[in-house]
Amino acid sequence: MLACNCIEPQWPADELLMKYQYISDFFIALAYFSIPLELIYFVKKSAVFPYRWVLVQFGAFIVLCGATHLINLWTFSMHSRTVAIVMTTAKVLTAVVSCATALMLVHIIPDLLSVKTRELFLKNKAAELDREMGLIRTQEETGRHVRMLTHEIRSTLDRHTILKTTLVELGRTLALEECALWMPTRTGLELQLSYTLRQQNPVGYTVPMHLPVINQVFSSNRAVKISPNSPVARLRQLAGRHIPGEVVAVRVPLLHLSNFQINDWPELSTKRYALMVLMLPSDSARQWHVHELELVEVVADQVAVALSHAAILEESMRARDLLMEQNIALDLARREAETAIRARNDFLAVMNHEMRTPMHAIIALSSLLQETELTPEQRLMVETILRSSNLLATLVNDVLDLSRLEDGSLQLEIATFNLHSVFREVHNMIKPVASIKRLSVTLNIAADLPMYAIGDEKRLMQTILNVVGNAVKFSKEGSISITAFVAKSESLRDFQAPDFFPVQSDNHFYLRVQVKDSGSGINPQDIPKLFTKFAQTQTLATRNSGGSGLGLAICKRFVNLMEGHIWIESEGLGKGCTATFIVKLRFPERSNESKLPFGPKLQANHVQTNFPGLKVLVMDDNGVSRSVTKGLLAHLGCDVTAVSLIDESLHVISQEHKVVFMDVSMPGIDGYELAVRIHEKFTKRHERPALVALTGSIDKITKENCMRVGVDGVILKPVSVDKIRSVLSELLEHRVLFEAM
């Protein structure tokens, strides 16, 4: 062996070192072969891997490296040329691939690095979104709470419930420890603790209104954090070691009705606020979040509105209760008044009846006495008795009438009546009295005064009688003149009634009656008092007979009811006096047959079925007609005399005959003449028989004629039994009533 000039001596193939190299190469190869397997395995496992080509390259590189090291194993010992070639090939390939890989990695590694950065960025973004989601959720929940709270608060109109509910719900939503409401007192100078959440019955704490903290809260419409130590927040005794939670206070405006204007939003010009104080739980380290504060503010506003609604409702309920009470009271008063009036009327009616009964006896017996044989003085006395009792009867009627007139329950009894006969009767009644005093009474009825009129005959007669009676009463001598005529429109305007407006119309006319006397006259100053009841003119010289003083008052009321006017003129004492009145009457209707007293339509109040012995007269020139009528009446039990001529009728007729049936449709014979003649023959109404006209047609002319001659009824031929029966019944009823008056 040659010694070489190497630094180190040539190293012989040491067995140990060779062994270690051998093992290491083996393991390297192993590792190098297993890495690509692993890579393939995991890449296959994962779905996404963008750089397959790189992997292949890397795999190739590793595999070749492994192969190289593997082949190295054979080169430790003596090896053949094949092995050397394979080794060389492997090494060359490995060199190529590794260079290629190295070049490739220069491009790839930055990419991979940027992926990492993007990943980080996305993670941050996700975190941010999460945070925002959390916030939105919180807000939405807050909104839900507010809605629910509002719903709870607004679902009632009772003020206490509203406030209590507010506190309860707020406490629940925000998990408060304590929640309190301070309301201003009436004086407006203090705040009083009105409601709390936890304490059931808050003792009446008050704090003055003008504390700085309160002013601070009241001056802003936001929820304001205040110190837990301020007087409004110190509601309980807290043990020292507790750290009180944060406190927030908000103002609650108390809106007034006057704040709400139509079409206007309410101006918060009111200075009245309540204070709501909310306390978080102590020791909780919780803080007031913004959304919670907003919630509190919204709730405070809603509470304000709900409270004002409750206030409005309370007021309206109070007003309604008051009205109901008043209504009940009024109703009661009205019923009491009605009862009183009814009681009064009943009393008057009873008294009236009690007074009338003996008077009837007096009047009836006096009239009967009149019919007997009397000496002239006796006759005069009896007549005076009769007159006086009639006057007394009138007086009793007056009292009843007056009270009915006063309360408006008197109604006129409107019917058709003979106007002329009213005056004649008054004249007849007053003549005896006047002749005693040697007064002459003249009656002038105008020619154009209708014979018949529609009105209240009784009351009109009463009025005329009263006025004429007064004229007679207050005249010692001289004459009395009564004039009656239709008032024309010109004359209607010129008299001194400021509130009397006569209206002319076709249906109505105004009857004007003037009674002039030449008696004692009246002092013009006393004239207004004349028509007041119970007031009498005090001149003793002129008063000779009594009188209730009611007369003229009643007359005035009657005249007013008849839409007229009454007044008295006098030039002074001793110069006589003129009483005038105007009343409104209706013209008798021409074409309405029901206005006649006994028209074909008859009411059967109580119909007598038989009239035994009733004497009636029938006048008819037609034989058949006569016999049938006679048969009809005979069937009803009447004592019938049947004649065919007017003269015959007049011959036969007497006071005993109660009813006369006359046929007025006889051609050539004027049946009406009979009526006229009968009227002439029997001047006194109670002596005259009732007159009934039988006619074939009830037309205008017939009715006019009937009214003209003054029949009591008209019947259409042919007649049935029932019709005759009801006619007779009603005729007799009326006559009886008449005589009792």
């Binding site: 020139d621 034989g623 058949v624 049938v628 048969g631 005979a634 074939g696 031929k717």
Partner: protein, 152 residues
Amino acid sequence: MDAVAQWRNQWFDYTQYLRREGFLDDQFAQLKKLQDENSPDFVVEVVSLFFQDSEKLFNNMARALEQNVVNFKQVDAYVHQFKGSSAWIGAFRLKNVCINFRNFCEAQNLEGCLRCLQQLQQESTALKNKLENLFRLEQQIVAAGGSIPMME
């Protein structure tokens, strides 16, 4: 069915017939009501009176219408009287003819008047026969011991 019942039925039918045909109306029923024990022959009496009167009236009317210068007012008066009587006994058709007659009188229509007079006479005779039948029937019923039914 015994004789009385038979005749009563006949009576009913006959009165219905008379009513239907308009010979009589409700007024006749009223007349019948007036017939009682005090005046058992009331209806017969009235009817006889009627026909006696109508004879006279017809004669008067005929004579009046024969005149050269007819006094229609007079004729109208007679017809009016006859109409009244007819109405009283319920002679419906006669009454209607009278109404026409009066219209003709008012219009002074001689032809019409004469025609109506003739009609009146005819109707009157017819009614007389009918009523005689009715009364005979009633007599039979009464003679057989029955009672004349009520006319409604």
